[in-house]
Every structure is written in C-alpha cells, then in structure tokens.
Amino acid sequence: MISLAGRDILHHWAKYVFTGVGLGLLIGVTLSMAGIYRGMVDDAQVLLRSSGADIWAVQQETLGPYAEPSNLRDDAYRAILGIPGVAEASNVTYLTMQIRQGERDVRVMAVGFEPGRPGEPPFLVAGRRIARSHYEVVADVRTGFRLGERVRIRRHEYEVVGLTRRMVSSSGDPMVFLPLKDAQEAQFLKDNDAIVNERARTASNPALNRPGVPGLLDAILASQTASRSVNAVLVRVASGHEAEQVAENIRRWKHLEAYTRAQMEEILVAKLIETSARQIATFLVILAIVSAAIVSFIIYTMTLGKLRELAVLKLIGTPNRTIAAMILQQSLGLGLIGFVIGKTVATLWAPYFPKYVLLLPGDAVRGLAATIVVCAIASLLAIRVALKVDPATAIGG
C-alpha cells in the first residue's frame, strides 16, 4: 500500500514545505498574539503575587494603590497589626517614574518596602537583597541596570545590589525596589528649588514669622518637609483566618478600604487592563479567522492544481474515500508543519518583545487542536471539488 498523499507531496515537496513554512509564520504570529494577551494578564497578576499580600489596605473610597492614587499615614500599619487574624502588615509605596541611565530614560515603578516584610522581591537572579536601610536598590533585569551600577533617583544616588525578574507593574514597567524611607522621600519630598521657594514663601508670611515668637518659623518649616505617608499597607493573614473577614474588620474599624487578593485581581484584570486586553483579544480572533481562511484557500488551490491527476486516479478506479483521505492527510500535514514552525518561531522571538509574552502550554495545545480542526474543515471544500471531477477530463483534455 503506497501512500498517495506522501507520493503527491514528494512530487511537489518544495512547494508543499514552503507553503507550510508560510503558514507556520502566520500561526507563529497568532500564537504570539495569544502570548501577548496572556502576558498582559500575567503582568497584572505577577504584581499581586510578588507583593505576597493577602489584603491591601488603602485610603478610604479609593481603588488604590495600583488603579488609583491612595495615601495613608505610615503609622496606620500598627493599628492594623492589632486586628485579630493579621499575621504581618507592612507599609509600601508605589511610584511610577523615569530614572536616568546615561543617555536614556528608563520608565520604572519604584516600590518602597521594608526589608523582611511583605512587598519585598520574592527571588533574585543576581546579587543580594537590600541590607542597608538606605541607598540600595534591587531592580528588575528589564530596566537594563547592572549590578554595582549607581542610579540617581531624585536627590540621592542608589547602588544596584540585586537583580530580579518578572517584577513589573500592571502596565509592564519594570520595578525598582528601594527601602521605604528613601521611597517616601522620593515620592513626597520636593526638589531643592521647590523647598527653598516654599521656605521663602512661608518666611514672608507675617502671621508665621512673628518677631515676638522665636522658633515659630523653624517649627513650621520643619513640619512642611516631613513626610509620613505611604500608598498602601500590605497585610498577610494568619493561617486559620478568612481574608474577607479580616478585610471587613479593617474596613469597619480602621476606616480604610481593604481589598482581598480576589478583589484586587478583579480591579487589576477587569478594570485596569480591560480595554487593552479586549483590543488584543479582538485582534487575536481576527488573526485566527484569517489564518483559517488562508489555510482553506491554500488547500483549495493545491487541489485545483492537480485536477487532471485526480481525474486519472478516478479513471483507474480509485475509490472516492482514498482520494478524500489523500487531500485530508495533505491538509493535516500542512497544518502540523505550520504548527511546529509557528510554535518554534513564537518561542524564539518571544524574548525580543518589549513587553512580556507568556506562551502557555495550554494555549499551544488549544492552538494545535484549532489548527487541525481548521485544516480538516478547510479540506472539505477541496474534497468536494475533487470528488466532483469528471474522470473524462483525464483523457478529454
């Protein structure tokens, strides 16, 4: 028993293989698009995972700290620690900012955290954790910073002591972790010119700079520069306690907003990246339809190209089933080649995307199934044409 499909492919192998490669590149683009969508969702989730928190306590009536700005006093965590079921609570600040590195600006999310508490980067790919309480940072590799490099954030220079990976904000900006007090300064302390101007403005106010009250002006100036705010308090719930219960207690008694992990995920995935994710998803659907259309056209034209040979086959009495199987096999083969090449190129070019591309094995399996189904359906049209061929055309010309 000889394989009709194999024989036919061998006959036009170059055409067949190149068609497969072309199809593969198209499938690669589709898989990458799915990867971009997954990456986007993962960016939002990795932010939650890396913070290691069960509950986010933020300013009342806000969706903070990621979706909306939120400010609370940095001693709020002490009150939260006293609530039953709270194992750990720590202050954290988030600030998206540009950091200068030589000639270029790097857009980062600066995270202020307390070493050893929730919010610190869970793992490193190089270097060490922050050991000093000032002037050290751990950066995501995507920032392009190297170990030992000194970067300037606002008024201080910081040394990069560690590198981590996949620590990004929900919009994909790499994170830079710095000690909380430095981060508070970076976020709330103004630049020198602003401070000097503000001092002069206060000093020129006769109500605040009274000759009979020495020390009043100094006291006011000191109170202007102090910063005692953070953006959120991360709470880790003790085992055996329900996160929602603890969050409800925080909401009720501490007059703060509290979100559990599920609620936070809802805010990030459903609200923050919703439109861009839908945009990608729509494009993904269009790409899939286009790919399916192209596959069916290719199979169809390939069949049209060998109508005469099919007529000969029919003339010598080949059963319809065999002819149909040949076309189906060729179509599936094309799909398989395309999938293998597509998956390969998608994997190879994924790291070069500026934002994260997550290729899930589940997506690949789904892609393979879709490819096979699409190829099978696409071959139906061609099979219909092949079966309708009049054997007489083989001799009639």
């Binding site: 061998l10 050991a131 002037y135 899930l360």
Partner: protein, 394 residues
C-alpha cells in the same frame, strides 16, 4: 527510482531534525523547561556584621547667644566662622539708661559712706555728752546730800544724764542704719554694674561662630539670639539607625563615616553614645558617632553615611541572603535533590551588610543551596544549575 528514494530520505532527515529541534526547544525554554538557578556551597567562615545609618554632622554643644532682656543690638564684634576664646566679647546690647543709673548708684554708695562717717561722729559726740552729763549728775547728787543744791537741781542733772544716754543710743542706732545703707547701696551699685555687664555678650566656651542672626540696630526680645556658636570639640554625627537593626550597637564600637561631600572617603570614627530616647515616629534609634580626627572642612547639617561594625565572629555558618526564602509560612533555603528543588527550613540569625545571613540550625557546611533562581521555586520544580542568570537573559 533512485531520485525519489534519495528525496524521501532527505525529507525524512529534514523532518526529523525539525521535530527534534522543536522538542528540544520546548523542553529547554518556556514553562516546561527546568528553572535555571545558581548554586552556592554553605561554608563556615569569618562573619562581620555592621549596621548602616544616615546621620547629619552636628555639634553636640551649641550655644545661642542673646540678651536676657529686650533691647537693641549696639555692636556685633565677630562674624560667622570666627574662632573665639572663652570670655571673648562677641556683641554688645545698647545699655540705654544703664550707664546713668550706674553712676547714680555709685554716687549714692559714696554718699552713704560719708553718711556713715557723720553717724560715727554723732555717736562720739553723744558719748562725750553722756560722759559729762553723768559726771555732772553724780557731782550734783553728792553735793545735794550735803544740802548745797536743791532736790530740783539734782533731779534736773539726773534727767540730763539720762537724756544724754538716750541720745547716745539713738546715735548708735543711726550708725547701724548708716552701715546698712552703705551695704544696701553697695549691693545696688553691684547690681547696676552686673546689669551693665550683662549687655556685653561674651563667649561661654571656646568655639566657632556659626550664625549671625542680628545686626546692630536690631531690636530683640529676650530669648532671641544675636549669634550662634558651637563648641568645635563636640562635633559628631547624629546617626539614625533603623530600630530593627540597632540591636548590636554599643558605645565604643568602630564606625566608618562617609561625608556626602566626599563620597569616596571613609573617615574612621567611634560610637560615643547610644541615645536613650529613640524616634518613635520614624522608628529609628539615635546614635552619636564621633570622628577619630575631625575633618577640617565640613558643614554642620551635612549628610553622612555611617557604618558601625557591631559583631565579629570567627567560625560562623552563613549563606547569601538571597537564598533565604519564605515558603508555606516557614523560613528556609532551597536545596537540590535529584535535580529537583527541595525546601529545607532553617533558623536564621543576623544579616550582615554584604547580605549574608547567619544560619543557626538546619544546614551543614558543604551543602549546596540555591541562591538565585529564574522564578519563585515550588517544591519538586526541576532545576538546572547555571553560572549566572543575568548575562544570557535580556
């Protein structure tokens, strides 16, 4: 027949290579690939711990020099940066009427001395008078017994003598009063002199002037300063250290001070005092660090980074801090067993400034542990050791 066979073989080889490459790629990268990690061997060795804090250069003893009563500045004799001796005249307040009051008081004191002389003379006069009157009275009394004088005449003489005694008493009292007056006016004069001296502002210690707050002609209330100066021997770095790390800091420990003006230079210093009062709001402990040899050019208020060496251990088991993780609520490190990650809980001690963590129990020297990993590890993850994780990845 030859060519098709060749073609079949060729295409099969191509297909096999493609499939093999695909499989290799799937296994080597992506979610199915082993997690690349870096490995360290646990070692015993010297362990030096230090704490790090940020401080400002301050003088522990600083002086605000100003008047004790409201007044106008008459003259300021020194300028910012000037070195001053103990007792040196720095500034003067306008004495206004104090000079006149002082001379009035001096004149009054001198007059009191004269009044004292008068009182003394009066006492002497009264003594003489009393003496004479006494003798006259005695004489009249004896002659009166012999009936040379009438009783009335004798009694008149006795009354004279008694009166002279009372006058003497009065004169003595006046002398005492005059003496008191001298003392009072002397004291008043001294007070006026002190007040006059008080408008002269002098240096309480040797030091250097740091600020000139008022110029001649300025009117100040009591408590405002004309000049501020510091005792230059008391220069130190007031260092703030995170409470969580301040446990091992003691007076006498060596410290390295890096001034912001000279980032590359570590100046040797010493902890002189760990303040009892911490800062409850910023959760920091305050430590005074003194320079072994004070630098000549620095500014008060300058930022300084202080590293204090707290503990030194000779034979301590320590691991890189990046290796210690929190997993399922326990602290520990990842080790490799049969190519897969396995979690080993450990009890950890202090963390040094170079990021090493002391392991108190749970590990033995010579064990291999995971330091860096491409992602967060889970128990059973397949891992592969690599030299470095950064160079390859973007």
């Amino acid at each position: 027949m030859k060519r098709p066979v060749l073609r079949v073989v060729g295409l099969s080889i191509l297909g096999l290579v493609l499939v093999a490459g695909f499989v290799l790629l799937m296994v080597r990268s992506g979610p199915l690939a082993p997690v690349r990690v870096t490995i360290a061997v646990v070692e015993r060795g010297a362990f030096e711990n230090a704490v790090f804090g940020v401080g400002t250069v301050e003088a522990e003893r600083s002086y605000a020099i100003g008047p004790t009563v409201p007044g106008r500045v008459l003259a300021v004799h020194v300028d910012v940066g000037g070195e001053v001796r103990v007792g040196q005249l720095l500034a003067e307040m306008d004495p206004v009427e104090l000079d006149a009051r002082l001379s009035a008081s001096r004149a009054a004191a001198a007059r009191a001395v004269h009044a004292l002389e008068v009182a003394r003379a009066q006492v002497r006069d009264a003594e003489v008078r009393q003496d004479l009157a006494g003798r006259n009275a005695r004489r009249y009394a004896s002659l009166g017994e012999q009936a040379f004088f009438s009783d009335a005449a004798v009694e008149a003489k006795r009354q004279e003598a008694d009166s002279a005694g009372a006058q003497l008493q009065s004169a003595r009292a006046q002398l005492d009063a005059a003496r008191m007056d001298v003392e009072r006016l002397d004291a008043e004069r001294a007070a006026a002199e002190r007040q006059r001296a008080n408008v002269r502002l002098v240096a309480p210690v040797a030091g250097v002037v740091t600020a000139r707050d008022a110029e001649p002609g300025t009117t100040l209330v009591a408590g405002q300063s004309v000049l501020r100066m510091v005792d230059s021997a008391s220069v130190r770095v007031r260092t703030r250290i995170d409470q969580g790390r301040s446990g091992g800091v003691r007076a006498g420990q060596a410290a390295a001070i890096v001034l912001r003006s000279r980032p590359g230079l570590a100046l040797p210093g010493r902890v002189t005092r760990v303040e009892l009062n911490g800062d409850a709001v910023t959760e920091e402990r305050i430590v005074q660090v003194v320079f072994d040899e004070a630098p000549t050019d620095f500014a008060f208020g300058e930022l300084a980074e202080v590293t204090i060496v707290t503990t030194r251990g000779g034979d301590v088991l320590a691991v890189p801090g990046a290796a210690v993780h929190e997993y399922e609520g326990r602290r520990g490190v990842w080790t490799i067993a049969d190519g897969a990650a396995a979690f080993v809980p450990v009890r950890t001690g202090e963390t040094s400034l170079d990021g090493r963590v002391v392991v108190l129990e749970g590990l033995q020297a010579g064990e291999r542990i995971v330091v860096h990993s491409e992602r967060e590890l889970e128990a059973g993850d397949r891992v592969s050791a690599a030299e470095s994780l950064v160079a390859v990845r973007r």
